[in-house]
């Protein structure tokens, strides 16, 4: 197991390294002058040159990259125009918002977490539950309704569902406030009521996919010999379906769920844009629009970290459940 773990962690580190190099090259080395986007409103040539110097853009690429990476690990000294000393996970300084990028990220990351985690719980419960029920009641109206639901949900667009939800619950029925983020520690009720539409929209679309997936898995598991054996031994239906079959059927679903959650944490761009909530995804979009390179770089890196971590976690989980994986 430990050998598998080390191998997996090594390849994950390598992937992250490659992502960081690629992103760095893509945004810092491409011909567009990064400074024009970063410079505050009234830019004159001398000021541009100073910003360029501050950012170290006149240094060779390799040392720029090394500086950036060193900043993440140990912190680094940026010029006085960039807020001076920048502590350990230093992601640079944004001229657009005039603050350290790590501060921006620390502010918006909880927002994205508050959207994704409750939504993920909701979509897993709803999706897997629906899939299981429709597999066990195969061919009944319930099954057909679940299939219809998952087919419809899989073809709907998040922004359209979001717009309809907004229209109905916020603007017409006035049951909910306009979506916004409040910290859960300040006011849990306001936190929930401000984000519930985003949860529902995300959960609706994702649970459709999961219902379909877990239905197929459950049907396959139900036809396996061990289920028949358990039933033949006289075990009660709830026990066979709820314990034996469910566990076997749910493993692949968990894998995909891990990857989806990892991807969603990296920025629920569409959800945040639709509901006007300032999370990681929206921050990335704004950064791209205003040409705020250090922020773009940071959001891409964080998103990649989430995806890679989720990958590793899922692999480990899988290896723990299924010993055959470790041997490969």
């Amino acid at each position: 197991m430990s050998r598998f773990l080390i191998k997996r962690l090594f390849s994950a580190t390598l992937t992250l390294f490659a992502v960081s190099v690629l992103t760095f090259l893509m945004f810092f080395a491409l011909p567009r002058d990064p400074v024009t986007g970063m410079c505050p409103k009234n830019c004159n040539p001398e000021r541009l040159e100073r910003v360029r110097d501050d950012l170290g853009l006149n240094d060779p690429l390799v040392s720029q990259y090394a500086g950036y990476m060193k900043g993440i690990v140990t912190g680094r000294d940026l010029g006085s125009a960039q807020g001076g000393r920048c502590d350990a996970p230093c992601l640079g300084w944004s001229y657009v918002s005039n603050e350290a990028v790590s501060d921006t990220i620390a502010r918006v990351l909880p927002v994205t977490l508050s959207i994704v985690i409750p939504a993920a719980i909701l979509w897993l419960l709803l999706g897997v539950g629906l899939g299981m029920v429709s597999a066990l009641r195969r061919g009944t109206w319930l099954d057909r309704a679940a299939i219809g639901f998952s087919l419809t949900g899989a073809s709907l667009q998040l922004y359209f569902v979001g717009a309809v939800l907004l229209l109905v619950f916020v603007y017409n029925l006035r049951l909910l406030p306009v979506p916004s983020y409040t910290s859960i520690f300040d006011d849990p009720v306001k936190w929930a009521s401000g984000l519930v539409l985003a949860w529902v929209a995300l959960a609706f679309l994702f649970s459709a996919i999961y219902a379909r997936l877990s239905r197929a898995q459950m049907l396959e598991t139900l036809s396996e010999d061990f289920v028949r054996t358990a039933r033949a031994k006289g075990l009660a239906k709830p026990k066979v379906y709820g314990r034996h079959a469910l566990r076997a059927a749910i493993t692949p679903v968990v894998t995909i769920a891990g990857l989806d959650v990892g991807g969603a944490l990296g920025g629920t761009v569409i959800t945040e844009t639709t509901f006007g909530i300032q999370g990681l995804g929206r921050t990335a979009v704004d950064a791209v629009r205003s040409g705020d390179l250090p922020t773009i770089m940071a959001t891409v890196l964080i998103a990649a970290v989430f995806v890679v971590l989720a990958n590793v976690l899922v692999d480990l989980l899988y290896a723990a459940i299924d010993p055959r994986v470790r041997l490969r």
Binding site: V19, Y159, G266, V288, N311
Partner: protein, 335 residues
């Protein structure tokens, strides 16, 4: 994927048909797996309805200039005289009339119906082009990785993982304007064909991984089989083995994945336009229209529904057809 089970089912079907007596005289008819899949597809009502809907959408997209002529309104024409003082369309449901079937856009007063038709054209073109390119890249890389194995497999698989680790929306968002700037500079007038080309290129860079994974897995399952060994023993080259021996055996899952990739690209294109990259306002696009309509949710709710329902219908039809195609090509699968 082996084809023998398919043939087995075919025999069973023919035998059960023979039992009814009427077919007994005809005896056993030999059919290729392709013919069998086609027969199964023809018998599937969902497949026929969704397929018909798809053909309808394709024709609408292809005939967009023709429709413009018959309809008499262009996608860039503005009808300010039909808006009220606040820029809202007069009349019901966003200004639906006999002349403007789906009403008008607030502020600019452009006709929504003809913009949707042109949006459909753009969307379908981008999706099909992207799906074709990604399928080609994915097939070649996946087959090479699966068949040759070794370090090439390791490298290609690692690149696949790497591509999957990059946040697609954010990268595409950042990459599209950068590429455009590279070619046009700060002030250049970007042609809409170039915008479409950039989108397809971005999709091609990120979209090939799933096909590559699929093909790689299938090829690994097949490469030790006797027919491949026989081909190798008789001195067949790499190209012959991959394209003549292996690929004909896995065209079914590739076709299914292609048919399910097209709606994904439609969705991605709309999503990119929704977050404001991709196509300029000149080129009509579903995502762009929905993004614009969000500002008018309270004042003109009809505006969001027309593009929203249109893209739903399109993606829904593709998904249904893709599923039916999978059922027809692989009768064992229980979805």
């Amino acid at each position: 994927m082996s084809l023998s089970p398919v043939e087995g089912v075919a025999l069973a079907e023919i035998e059960s048909g023979a039992d009814t007596g009427e077919h007994a005289a005809k005896g056993v008819v030999g059919r290729s797996p392709g013919q069998l899949a086609w027969l199964r597809l023809r018998r599937d009502r969902t497949a026929m309805v969704s397929g018909g809907l798809l053909v309808f959408f394709l024709l609408l997209g292809l005939a967009a200039p023709l429709i413009e002529m018959v309809y008499g309104v262009g996608p860039r024409e503005q009808f300010q005289n039909l808006l009220d003082g606040f820029g809202m369309p007069l009349g019901y449901a966003g200004g639906v009339t006999g002349e403007h079937w789906f009403g008008l856009e607030p502020n600019l007063g452009r006709d929504i119906f003809i913009r949707l038709i042109y949006g459909l054209r753009t969307s379908l073109f981008i999706a099909f082009a992207a799906a074709l390119i990604t399928a080609t890249i994915g097939i070649v890389l996946g087959a090479l990785a699966g068949y040759l194995g070794g370090w090439l497999d390791a490298v290609i698989s690692w690149i696949t993982d790497l591509t999957l680790a990059m946040p697609f929306l954010i990268i595409a968002l950042a990459l599209t304007p950068t590429i455009t700037l590279r070619f046009y500079g700060e002030r250049g007038q970007v042609s809409s064909a170039f915008g479409v080309g950039v989108l397809i290129a971005v999709f091609a860079i990120f979209g090939w991984t799933s096909t590559a994974r699929l093909v790689r897995g299938q090829v690994i399952a097949l490469r030790e089989r006797e027919f491949v060994e026989a081909a190798r023993a008789s001195g067949a080259g790499l190209g012959h083995i991959i394209f003549r021996q292996l690929l004909p055996n896995i065209w079914a899952p590739i076709l299914v994945s292609f048919s399910l990739a097209v709606p994904q690209f439609i969705t991605s294109e709309a999503a990119l336009s929704f977050i404001g990259v991709g196509l300029s306002d000149e080129t009509p696009s579903f995502g762009r229209m929905i993004y614009d309509s969000l500002d008018f949710l309270q004042t003109d709710p009809a505006y969001v529904f027309f593009p929203g329902i249109m893209i739903f219908a399109l993606v829904f039809a593709f998904n249904l057809f893709g599923d039916a195609l999978r059922d027809a090509l692989d009768p064992k699968s229980s979805r």
